[in-house]
């Protein structure tokens, strides 16, 4: 065996070991979902349930509006993704390709606010949503997630990197309107970057917690994160049922990511994220 192949084998072993470590907690979660209450209390804990049961799953689906929580989360995440794609592509394109002093100032402000944690200004935003009468609704949730500073930044990088000025100028000389240029020339070239941004935006909303926890107040309007966090029966947490609920939620997250992974990595690479 050559030295390179030996090194590669070693690297594979290390990476494999590490990956297993990373997914172990989730594997345990799935395994707990199928354990009976007695088995959950047994010592030492078992990796694979001895007598797998689907009782937990059945009870959870019967007792909680789990599916409508998943649906709320999906609607919220999809709407947020669309909003962020629209706002980011417009702002990113303008800020990337139009050179005016005022635009540089605007971009600097956006960058500066990008690092301010959402939790800092969440409470005043709550009262703004209240003024609109949108508390406890999906549009209300959406208001916190309409724009993404990083998204604007990412698309601007991508515009600078992937769209040559000459192309736009040529189109203008041919008499193309600005709106036509944006839709017909710019957007298709940003496909990769927008795909990557879509993944980020979707999961940002999907995993958000503090904001939906205050905006959604009635049980039917919870997102899945909030529903799970408040998932308690009286004073006690039922680990089996909770794991069952969590397993149901894992399915869409993992599926969506596995489907989009390749586009995501290439999309981010296409933005030339290095400046």
């Amino acid at each position: 065996m050559s030295r390179t192949r030996l090194t590669n084998l070693l690297i594979d072993i290390v990476l494999f070991g590490f990956c297993i470590l990373m997914i172990t907690p989730l594997a345990l979660l799935v395994s707990n979902a199928f354990k009976s209450p007695e088995e959950l209390l047994s010592w030492p804990p078992r990796l694979i349930p001895a007598n797998p049961t689907i009782d937990n799953l059945a009870t959870v689906l019967a007792d909680t509006p789990l599916l409508s929580w998943v649906l709320n989360s999906l609607m919220f995440a999809v709407a947020s993704t669309i909003a962020i794609l629209i706002t980011s592509s417009i702002a990113g394109y303008i800020l990337g390709k139009f050179r005016f002093r005022i635009l540089s100032v605007i971009f600097a402000i956006i960058l500066a606010t990008a690092i301010i944690p959402f939790e800092v200004y969440m409470i005043p935003l709550y009262f703004q949503v209240q003024e609109l009468g949108l508390l406890d609704t999906v549009p209300g949730l959406l208001i916190g997630y309409l724009v993404m500073s990083f998204g604007i930044f990412l698309i601007r990088q991508s515009v600078i990197h992937a769209i040559p000025d000459e192309l736009l100028e040529a189109a203008r000389i041919d008499g193309a309107g600005e709106i036509w240029i944006f839709f017909v020339i710019v957007l298709p070239l940003l496909r990769g970057a927008l795909g990557a941004l879509a993944v980020l935006a979707f999961f940002q909303a999907w995993t958000s917690f503090a904001w939906p926890l205050i905006v959604a107040t009635s049980r039917d309007s919870y997102t899945i994160e909030v529903g799970l966090a408040l998932f308690q029966t009286g004073y006690t947490v039922d680990l089996g049922k909770l794991s069952a609920a969590a397993t149901v939620v894992l399915i869409p997250s993992v599926t969506i990511f596995v489907m989009l992974r390749k586009n995501f990595v290439e999309g981010i690479a296409a933005t030339g994220l290095k400046e």
Partner: protein, 297 residues
């Protein structure tokens, strides 16, 4: 092309987006600054101006200071684990790009980042459980003392750092992989011809060239570290069969002051402190990494 017509188009297209941006970002941030100088309990109509009194009280507030310290330890802990580990992992995965396992590696490492926080934290809570958890079972198998992971003041913070790093790692690794993919091949060719080993190339080429990526990843990691909340919330949630020590973090203290103690103004002053800290740290990171990166090029 008329320059002012271009400007007109740029502004016309930008204004709706900017209006949203101002309304959902700039306005609430301004409101936080204003509220931090007032006393307000959410429900009453009067909202007296009290100057810097909230900030003065913060200086003497043990709970706030404990929260600040815990949060800082967690944020830097996550940063110190995530950056070197993700850089190393990304280098290894990039090295094995053509392996048929590359997809599996990327997926397995990134999955924790897209999994809902709450179920993930619940799983970890069970892993750390002193009486039922697999972590202590493994320790005992190797003849080690079981630990009260979620109760010891030091261990409970370590638990949160582990949990947050587990979630942050995947994102950092992917961004680094992208960084590696964008590095110029010619430089590496030249280095190889000069007789540099793979490790030397990593040490003296990749690391300096990846500085901008490191800057971005470390800003994102640190900022999200300072926002830690759901993890602490779930690890100490009030279930009585499996209790846990409450690790007080800034966002939790803020929310508690807002909604349990009805002190919005006071919570706003905490938010302002958080804001200032994050701003300063970001500036420091920029100056550290920008300068050195600039010199080495």
């Amino acid at each position: 092309m008329l320059r002012h017509r271009k400007l007109l188009f740029a502004l016309a297209a930008l204004i709706p987006v900017l209006a949203i941006y101002v309304w959902v970002r700039i306005m609430p941030i301004g409101e936080i600054l204003r509220l931090s100088l007032h006393k307000w309990d959410i429900i009453s109509k009067n909202k007296p101006f009290i100057g810097l009194q909230n900030f003065r009280e913060l200086l003497e507030d043990d709970l706030f200071q404990a929260a600040l310290l815990n949060t800082a330890i967690i944020a830097f802990g996550v940063l110190l684990i995530t950056i070197p580990l993700s850089l190393g992992l990304a280098a290894l995965i990039y090295h094995r790009t053509r392996s048929r396992f590359a997809g599996f590696y990327e997926t397995a490492i990134f999955i924790p980042h897209v999994v809902s926080l709450v179920p993930a934290a619940m799983a970890w809570k069970w892993i750390f459980d002193a009486k039922l958890g697999p972590l202590n079972a493994v320790l005992m198998k190797f003849g080690l003392e079981p630990q009260a992971w979620l109760f010891d003041p030091v261990l409970s913070i370590i638990c949160i750092i582990v949990l947050c790093s587990w979630q942050a790692l995947g994102y950092a690794v992917l961004i680094y992989i992208v960084g590696f993919k964008n590095l110029p091949h010619s430089l590496y060719e030249a280095a190889r011809l000069d007789g540099a080993s793979a490790f030397q190339a990593f040490r003296f080429l990749s690391i300096p060239l990846l500085k901008p990526i490191t800057l971005y990843v470390s800003v994102v990691t640190l900022v999200s570290g300072f926002n830690v909340y759901a993890q602490a919330f779930v690890l100490a949630s009030d279930s009585q069969g499996a209790p846990g020590r409450q690790v007080r973090v800034l966002v939790m203290d803020m929310l508690e002051n807002s909604f349990r103690n009805y002190r919005i103004g006071y919570a706003a002053s905490e938010a302002v402190v958080l804001l200032v800290i994050v701003l300063i740290l970001t500036l420091i990171q920029f100056s550290l990494l920008r300068e050195k990166g600039g010199k080495s090029q």
